[in-house]
């Protein structure tokens, strides 16, 4: 019985085990196989008493199906399949009915199932309990084959014994229909293909299938994922996560810590940080060569990448087989050896090898690598942005001279007659007459339009300065001759005016001031002198260098630089008196001018311009000229601007409203500036210099006070020859037209008017080569002769610029007559050469006889008909040459 008990216990255990954990059922089954046999025997033997119930059940089974019967009948076999074992088990259970009710109940159910429909769940349990194989139903041993193969056979397969498994009897359609109608469990009945038997699915099976279909967990677990409880959040919780009380050590001070603190305090112990510092001091300091202090390495590299300098690529010289011209000759090699290593162009001697195989190891390799490293080390580490500025952008943008017309451009008339330096010129207010004073002790009066000398006055001395009365109603002219100031009536122009002036002079009542003695006396001229035009002679104590009129023509001022306190005298015509406005000399006075509108007097000394208010008798302004020696001054007709020329080549513009410092300084002249002059109407001013040029500038003064004056140099006028180191002495504008007069040391007065073509046409449209048109083109603005004197800057061949170049001093025509001595091809000298007799234009008519190419003869030939610009006819038919000869004879 003890054994039975154990078996019973074993069975109970087994069942429990199975129910609890399926995982181990294989193992447990295998373990318990042998035991079971024993137990079964014992069980079987011991439970024979109650077969009734089982018999009843068997009967029922028999009713149902034959195959079941067979199974049942053979279920006694101990080595049977699971089915049999189930049967056995059921037997066991039946036997053990009293012991375990639950098991019994289950067994009974199974039995019922067996008769009709078998429940898989419980049966399968049993099946797999005994068999570890995953193989399905082994009641049929045909294996996993399509069961259709047995369709035509009465059996459906073979059992373990090899016996045929006869197909269960299948009802007809009617039975099927009745089943469907009657059986409430029809919907959960399926057919086992292997056995052909119907199986009734349990509720669990159905729910499992439904779960599979809904893709739920097949095991039927309620919740796959447990809800997450965030114990360790970032939020500080008021309660501890655990309820564990704090350790004791957490609130009892450590004795070691106290000892260490004490040791640190006492200096016995060093803190770790202190130790580190000490270590740093001992270590050598390294720093990044290429690193910028502030910027992040990565961004810096990205942003401003400075590539390391590249080594030059090898050229032909470095070749093992260089072209022979690269190989050194002996001299070259010696020279190379003699040079300092730094000075050598290449740091090796090129050598030639027949083949690459013969090239030896490079002896300088290490050294060169080292030098390369040095290069890298020494290369610049800072990126320098190159200023990519067009230098022309830095120059202030000035309007083109062409847009600033009119201004004088070309010499129009030469006033010939003087034989020495023409010191001074002055135009009359109407612009019909011009007066000039010359070192040959004459004063000449010219007709402006024709250049006709209308009158010549012999004076006793050198006329230093001449000034025509600006009042058109008074016909008087001041001439400063040495120490005398002559007041002349030139007797030109309107007769009525002349006589009126004379009568006015005669009617002057001389008012003698009783108190002070006048600085000088007026001598009234009479008789011969009167007839010559002299009206007054004002004898000054010293030499007069400058005279100027007040705008209304009544007052005039004279300057005697050497007369100390009497340097400036102001005279009044209508009262015939003179006065000395300054008691103390303020320097060497150069010139004085009256303000055109207001009662101001501008006094130019060597370095300063002083502006005096004549009414208040005080100094109102002192202009710093920043020049060494002021030579001349001119006041704009508005009175707020003035220009100053100086002997140190500077032309200075002052804006009186702006500052006492120069507004602009022009340094265009190469030599001392002798005279500056404003035009009365046009925005022009001119400066005459010892370098033989007159520079005309556009000087626009705007009414808008905010806008600064516009100053543009527009034209350099050449023409005066430099004699005795003196070029142009004086210049003055025509009062109404944009013309300028200039007087030079060469004894001529030149007059520049406008000779501009309004619409310059394209040079390319000229039918003949441009050189033939010579001067014409330039003067028409077709060819530009640059103001700087370098011939090399000319865009066209110099020959095209012909006479112009020469007249502007760009080309030198030598006085000696040899054409061969000309440095440039003779054609460049154009007409000039011919006019100077350097080139012969043959009188006979044949162009072919000309020794030089016809273009050399420039305009001359054209004008003489030797070159046919307009009419390409036979030269021989032209009659000009005829009358050239005639006139030559006549002359």
């Amino acid at each position: 019985m003890g054994a039975e008990i154990t078996t019973l216990g074993q069975v109970g255990y087994r069942i429990n085990q199975y129910l609890k954990m399926d995982l181990f059922h294989d193992k447990s089954a295998s373990e318990s196989d042998e035991d079971t046999t024993d137990s079964e025997e014992s069980v079987y033997s011991g439970l024979e008493e109650e077969p009734d119930t089982s018999d009843d059940e068997e009967e029922k089974n028999d009713d149902k199906s034959d195959s079941e019967d067979e199974d049942n009948s053979e279920s006694d076999n101990e080595e049977s399949d699971k089915e049999n074992e189930i049967d056995n088990n059921t037997d066991d259970k039946d036997v053990n009915e009293e012991d375990t009710n639950t098991v019994n109940v289950a067994a009974k159910n199974k039995y019922n199932d067996k008769n009709n429909t078998r429940t898989t769940s419980q049966t399968v349990d049993d099946e797999y309990y005994h068999d570890s194989s995953d193989e399905e139903d082994i009641r049929n041993t045909v294996g996993n084959i399509p069961m259709e193969w047995y369709r035509d056979y009465p059996h459906i397969g073979y059992d373990v014994e090899g016996r045929k498994l006869i197909k269960p009897k299948k009802g007809d359609e009617l039975d099927e229909f009745l089943q469907r109608m009657d059986n409430p469990d029809y919907w959960q009945t399926v057919t086992n293909k292997m056995t052909g038997q119907n199986v009734l699915l349990t509720k669990e099976d159905v729910s499992l299938i439904e779960g599979l279909m809904l893709q739920r967990t097949p095991g039927g677990a309620k919740e796959t994922y447990e809800p997450w409880i965030d114990f360790f959040t970032h939020e500080t919780m008021i309660h501890p996560v655990t309820n564990r009380p704090a350790d004791k050590r957490s609130f009892i001070p450590s004795k070691y810590v106290g000892q260490m603190v004490h040791a640190i305090k006492m200096g016995w112990m060093k803190r770790s940080t202190d130790k580190k510092e000490k270590v740093d001091d001992d270590e050598p300091k390294y720093f990044m060569l290429w690193k910028d202090d502030e910027e992040n390495e990565a961004t810096r590299r990205y942003r401003a990448n400075i590539p390391a300098p590249k080594a030059a690529l090898p050229g032909h010289v470095e070749s093992y087989n260089p072209p022979p011209e690269y190989l050194f000759t002996k001299e070259e090699e010696e020279a190379w050896l003699a040079q300092e290593p730094e000075e050598r162009k290449i740091n090796f001697i090129p050598k030639k090898y027949d083949s690459l195989r013969l090239v030896p190891a490079y002896s300088r390799f290490v050294k060169e690598r080292f030098e390369r490293c040095l290069d890298l080390y020494l290369c610049p580490r800072q990126q320098q942005t190159r200023m990519n500025i067009n230098p022309e952008d830095l120059i202030p943008r000035l309007p083109k001279p062409k847009d600033l017309q009119p201004f004088p451009t070309q010499q129009a008339i030469i006033y010939k007659g003087h034989t020495d330096i023409v010191r001074c010129i002055s135009a009359d207010p109407t612009g019909q007459w011009l007066a000039s004073g010359c070192d040959d002790e004459t004063v000449k009066f010219w007709e402006v339009l024709t250049g006709r000398c209308m009158k010549t006055l012999k004076v006793s001395g050198t006329p230093r300065c001449i000034a025509w009365n600006p009042n058109p109603a008074i016909c008087l002219c001041l001439v400063a001759v040495d120490q005398n100031l002559l007041v002349l009536n030139p007797g030109l122009g309107d007769k009525v005016l002349i006589s009126n002036t004379d009568s006015m002079i005669q009617n002057i009542e001389t008012t003698e001031s009783a108190g002070k003695s006048p600085p000088l006396n007026w001598t009234v001229c009479e008789d011969e002198q009167y007839d010559e035009g002299y009206r007054f002679i004002l004898s000054h104590p010293k030499e007069i260098t400058h005279v100027s009129w007040h705008g209304k023509g009544d007052y005039f001022a004279s300057v005697m630089p050497k007369a100390d306190s009497k340097a400036v005298l102001i005279h009044q015509l209508s009262k015939q008196r003179s006065q000395n406005p300054f008691s103390k000399p303020k320097g060497l006075v150069q010139c004085v001018y009256f303000h055109p509108v207001r009662p101001f007097l501008f006094v130019a000394t060597q370095r300063y311009i002083r502006v005096y208010n004549l009414l208040k008798q005080e100094l109102t302004k002192k202009l710093m000229t920043s020049c060494r020696w002021v030579s001349s001054m001119s006041i704009h007709s508005g009175g707020d601007n003035l220009v100053i020329g100086s002997y140190d080549c500077k032309l200075t513009w002052f804006d009186l409203d702006l500052s006492t410092k120069p507004y602009q300084t022009l340094r265009h002249h190469k030599k001392a500036i002798r005279q500056v002059s404003f035009h009365k109407r046009y925005p022009l001013f001119a400066s005459a210099s010892d370098d033989g040029t007159v520079i005309v500038c556009h000087g626009m003064v705007y009414n808008d006070l905010l806008q600064n004056p516009l100053i543009v140099p527009v034209k350099v006028l050449h023409g005066h020859k430099i004699t005795k180191d003196l070029g142009v002495i004086d210049c003055e504008f025509h009062p109404t037209q944009p013309w300028v007069f200039s007087s030079g040391a060469d004894g001529t007065i030149r007059f520049r008017g406008l000779l501009e073509v309004p619409q310059p046409t394209d040079v390319s449209s000229l039918t003949l080569p441009a050189s033939c048109y010579g001067t014409c083109c330039i003067s028409r603005g077709l060819l530009e002769v640059p103001q700087p004197t370098d011939v090399s800057t000319l865009t066209l061949p110099a020959s095209c610029y012909g006479t112009c170049c020469i007249s502007r001093g760009l080309l030198e025509v030598p006085q000696p007559t040899d054409v061969s001595s000309l440095t440039l091809p003779a054609s460049c000298y154009g007409t000039c050469c011919i006019s100077r007799g350097l080139l012969e234009v043959p009188q006979p008519t044949d162009v072919s006889s000309l020794t030089l190419p016809a273009s050399c003869y420039g305009t001359c030939c054209i004008s003489r008909g030797l070159l046919e610009v307009p009419q390409p006819t036979d030269v021989s038919t032209l009659p000009f040459l005829l009358f050239i000869m005639v006139h030559a004879a006549a002359a």
Binding site: R452, M454, T859, F883
Partner: protein, 422 residues
């Protein structure tokens, strides 16, 4: 082969001179021919017909402009297609003027005018001189107290007594009577009123009035009648007249009318018709005046000082010389934008004087400070027909009053006469 490669132009030649007419059938001429080749072509065509040889130089006009370059270049410049038929008019070439004489003065010759066979010139030595066309001097007339600036014939008929006038720097205009037979001259009247040098005078077609322009900006109208002529006709006795004129004081005239409007001196005055005059001035304008209304009608604005002006009744156009190197052609009737019809540029100095031909509407002459007188054809704007050299100094005056003589006076004291052949 080569000839085929050379471009040809279809040209039809025609002329208004019937003695030179050629068949009007078009010819194919090489494109790069010049006037010489064309001229020889015409000559050969003319010589084909009759036995006698003609050798005339021709000038060729295409669309009213002289052919001066090669034909293809000319067509290219004018934008005329060489494919189409080109009508070329040819005329006998203008013969070159020939220098005839040179009359020497004592001083600069400021003004000159011819009349039939007499030449009148004003001189800077305050005299007016009378010459025959042949160059023989008739008279030297002192009378002015300052250089003479302008002279003008009043009568241009063949009568023995001729009148003329002269204006001077002394602000007066003198009217003179010259008896050809006795070669004596009388000052009939002195016109006073100008307050500046009288720079220009001009008499109208009726010879009744004349007007003068002066440096004083005024334009004055005067009577040109010579009362002395009537007296003389009454008397008919020359010694008597002499006596009479010597007895009688020189009549002083005052202007009929004074017109102001110019801002600068007046440089030239011309009659357009009996009531309209035209003036050019230093203030860069050409003004037209109506004498009946005594007011300014129109004004043409130039850019330079006008030194001289000439009006041609033949083509009703004005040429001006100004203080630059150009001669400009104006149409006083047009008032639209392009006032300057064309510019003739060849001079190298200021153009001091210009004068239209009295007979040919295309021709005019110009004198310049570059001492060259040029003969221009309006149809040849690029180049003058002929240059007349000879002066050594500035030319101050030119005149073409005698159709066969071109006169020029200059600062070299010479008055040059060039013979002009039609």
């Amino acid at each position: 082969m080569e000839t085929n490669n050379i471009p040809h132009v279809q040209a039809r030649f025609f002329t208004k001179q019937p003695q030179f007419s050629v068949p009007s059938a078009p010819f194919s001429v090489q494109a790069q021919v010049g006037t010489c080749d064309l001229s020889s072509l015409i000559n050969s065509l003319l010589n084909e017909g009759d036995g006698e040889k003609t050798n005339v130089d021709f000038d060729f006009l295409i669309d009213g402009e002289f052919l001066r370059l090669n034909l293809d270049k000319h067509l290219e410049n004018k934008g005329i297609s060489t494919e189409s038929l080109v009508d070329i008019e040819y005329i006998e070439k203008q013969q070159a003027p020939e220098p005839e004489d040179s009359l020497v003065h004592d001083d600069w010759v400021s003004c000159v005018q011819g009349c039939k066979d007499c030449i009148l010139s004003g001189c800077y030595d305050n005299t007016v001189r009378l010459w025959s066309v042949n160059g023989s001097p008739f008279l030297t007339i002192p009378g002015h107290s300052a250089p003479v600036k302008c002279v003008q014939w009043i009568t241009d008929d063949d009568s023995t007594v001729k009148t003329f006038m002269s204006g001077s720097h002394d602000q007066t205009i003198h009217i003179w009577q010259w008896d050809c037979e006795s070669n004596s001259v009388d000052c009939v009247a002195a016109c006073r009123g100008h307050a500046g040098s009288v720079d220009c005078i001009n008499v109208d077609h009726t010879k009744q009035r004349f007007c003068s322009g002066s440096w004083d900006k005024m334009l004055k109208l005067w009577s040109a009648e010579c009362e002395a002529v009537e007296d003389e006709d009454e008397d008919g006795d020359i010694p008597h007249k002499r006596r009479k004129t010597s007895r009688r004081k020189v009549q002083t005239r005052v202007p009929i009318l004074t017109l102001s409007g110019h801002n600068e001196g007046i440089s030239a005055v011309e009659w357009i018709d009996t009531n309209q005059i035209c003036t050019s001035s230093w203030d860069h304008t050409i003004k037209t005046w109506d004498l009946e209304q005594a007011e300014e009608i129109s004004s043409l604005q130039g850019s330079k000082v006008f030194l001289d002006m000439s009006y041609s009744p033949l083509n009703r156009q004005i040429v001006t010389g100004s203080s630059d190197r150009h001669v400009r052609l104006w149409d006083p009737r047009s008032s639209d934008g392009a006032l300057v019809k064309s510019i003739y540029t060849s001079h190298t100095g200021w153009v001091s004087s210009v004068c239209w031909s009295k007979t040919n509407e295309f021709l005019f002459i110009s004198g310049s400070y570059d001492s060259v007188m040029k003969l221009w054809d309006t149809r040849s704007p690029k180049a003058p027909l002929y240059n007349m050299t000879g002066h050594d100094e500035k030319i101050l005056a030119v005149d073409w009053s005698i159709p066969s003589s071109l006169l020029s006076g200059g600062a070299d004291n010479h008055l040059k006469i060039f013979q002009y052949k039609e």
